[in-house]
């Protein structure tokens, strides 16, 4: 378990992390989302000791991340593999030697039969057995990230840290990498922390997510919660402004969760209440193969109470928007 308690960090006068408290459970895929410059990558670097923090505590399995205690930190870093936006492979080493590199840092032999079996096994896991002696320059972006994933797993870490790991990849390749991360999480039970600015990434694999803005955690929850009923700042991040909604009548936003998404709520309501309304805005999306959505309808002022009463009766969450 990774625990952050009231963590703050500044670069000179600039405060980049402000009083951050998070708890990431074992075997979880946890997302940290926010815009560039929100402090999310810094947060990740503080967790594995690449950067120091000024106050608060970070602990990994009850061991405090402390840059002054080099020995303890060193052992802790072995428990955490990391992958990066730009893959960061060594250009002059082939796939095998890139994957083996962390072992060399730990004084392990990389050519013994056991080591070979392990390294080749990881390369097979990421689907690059046919590229085992290729140099990074011969690989595509997605393949490079696969090599980086194998490298991050070679010291048998409990945690995998992903820093914008798919930001340099196109959507189809991203999906492949995310599938691989899910597989690693399920098969090997590795806790994964994903730092990203891509909502798609969070939607596809994260069980929980923290939204960060200006160095502060604004909201923590399941991605579907964050996405369906976003707080104001998150709405702006998702580019969902309510400016396009009609100014006459009442705008009511409906929230559909996994059970209610399949029900024909809208058409039934129109029929049963015998009223007219227009649909102003809608969105329906996939979260780890569950469908969630949200819809804004515009009703006449006099129909408002009838509609809300009906929505309550069919247990659909709703909210009256301004206007």
């Amino acid at each position: 378990m990774i625990k952050l308690e009231n963590v703050s960090k500044s670069f000179g006068d600039l405060e980049v992390l402000k009083d951050i408290s998070l708890q990431i459970n074992d075997h979880e895929i946890y997302g940290i989302i926010g815009q560039s410059g929100a402090g999310k990558s810094t947060l990740l670097r503080c967790i594995n000791g690449l950067e120091d923090y000024q106050s608060g505590t970070i602990s990994v399995d009850d061991v405090t991340v402390d840059l002054k205690d080099k020995k303890k930190l060193h052992l802790l870093q072995k428990e955490m593999g990391m992958i990066f936006q730009n893959f960061n492979l060594l250009e002059r080493l082939d796939v095998y030697d890139n994957v083996a590199l962390p072992m060399k840092f730990w004084g392990m032999k990389t050519k013994t039969p056991e080591a070979k079996k392990k390294i080749e096994g990881l390369i097979e896991l990421v689907g690059l057995s046919d590229k085992i002696h290729a140099r990074p320059r011969e690989l595509s972006g997605g393949q490079k990230q696969r090599v980086a994933i194998a490298r991050a797993l070679v010291l048998d870490p409990k945690i995998l840290l992903c820093d914008e790991a798919t930001s340099a990849l196109d959507p189809a390749i991203t999906r492949g990498i995310l599938d691989l991360l899910s597989k690693i999480n399920k098969q090997m039970g590795i806790t994964i922390i994903v730092v990203t600015h891509q909502m798609e990434v969070v939607k596809q694999i994260c069980e929980r997510v923290a939204f960060i803005k200006g160095g502060r955690v604004l909201q923590i929850g399941k991605p579907e919660e964050l996405f369906i009923r976003p707080a104001k700042d998150i709405k702006a991040f998702l580019h969902e402004d309510s400016e396009l909604l009609p100014s006459e009548g009442v705008n009511i936003q409906l929230f559909f969760t996994d059970e209610s998404a399949d029900e024909p709520v809208i058409s039934q309501m129109a029929r049963k209440l015998n009223i007219d309304f227009s649909i102003s805005w809608a969105k329906l999306e996939d979260f780890r193969s569950n469908v969630y959505g949200s819809l804004v309808i515009n009703v006449k002022e006099e129909d408002k109470d009838k509609v809300t009463a009906y929505l309550d009766s069919v247990k659909v969450l709703w909210e009256v928007l301004n206007g």
């Binding site: 690449l50 870093q77 990391m82 990066f84 960061n88 060594l90 002059r92 080493l93 730990w106």
Partner: protein, 211 residues
């Protein structure tokens, strides 16, 4: 005539070979110190970096012909005499050290900072990062620098004739140019062109192979 050219060519090879070897070894040390103490290095240290950088610059801005003369007492102390092919290796080496130090520093510092960060994240020590990341990744670039050094040392070795260093360049100046023997001048130039071309081709081949 051909035996004179052959002897001169051997002298050139002798001067270029030894001064390259010594300057690469001796220039590597300040290059490493510069890389480590640079603002983006593993152990940033402004005072050490700026001081060493200044020394390198001072030595680099010395005109070679002046260095050749003022270094004579040092050369004499080092190898017992100040005249001859062997003696010429000393000023050539001294002038090449800051040159190659700067080239190696640039090569090393071109290492992708992301790769260094990745190594740190896996628990690599500074020493391991220096050896397995900085140096390992920079070898092709450093090799390119050595080729550059060899070629400019061929040029500088011509001036070593001033201290009796001999060599093809010296031959071209004394016989070809000063005694109006155009054929010697042409042959000497041709030999140098072929030599430089061969070194460059070998360098390109090795660069491709290593990177």
């Amino acid at each position: 005539m051909s035996s004179v050219i052959w002897t001169s060519f051997q002298q050139t090879l002798y001067m270029v070979f030894w001064s390259t070897l010594f300057s690469v070894i001796l220039g590597f040390i300040p290059a490493i110190i510069l890389t480590l103490t640079a603002p983006d290095g593993l152990r940033p240290n402004k005072i050490v970096y700026e001081t060493l950088s200044l020394i390198v610059n001072v030595f680099r801005s010395f005109p070679f012909i002046i260095l050749l003369v003022i270094i004579i007492p040092f050369t004499r102390a080092l190898i017992g005499k100040a005249i001859g092919t062997r003696a010429a290796v000393v000023p050539l080496t001294v002038s090449a050290i800051p040159y190659i130090a700067r080239i190696f520093e640039t090569s090393l510092r071109e290492t992708d900072p992301g790769v260094i960060e990745a190594a740190r994240s896996f628990g690599a020590s500074d020493w391991q990062i220096l050896l397995r990341v900085y140096i390992k990744e920079s070898i092709p670039r450093m090799l390119n620098g050595v080729i550059l050094l060899i070629i400019s040392l061929v040029g500088y070795s011509a001036m070593a004739g001033t201290v009796g260093g001999g060599g093809i360049g010296d031959l071209a100046i004394r016989y070809g140019y000063q005694q109006y023997k155009t054929d010697v001048l042409i042959i000497c130039s041709a030999v140098l062109i072929v030599f430089v071309q061969a070194v460059q081709m070998l360098g390109n081949y090795l660069y491709k192979k290593l990177s």
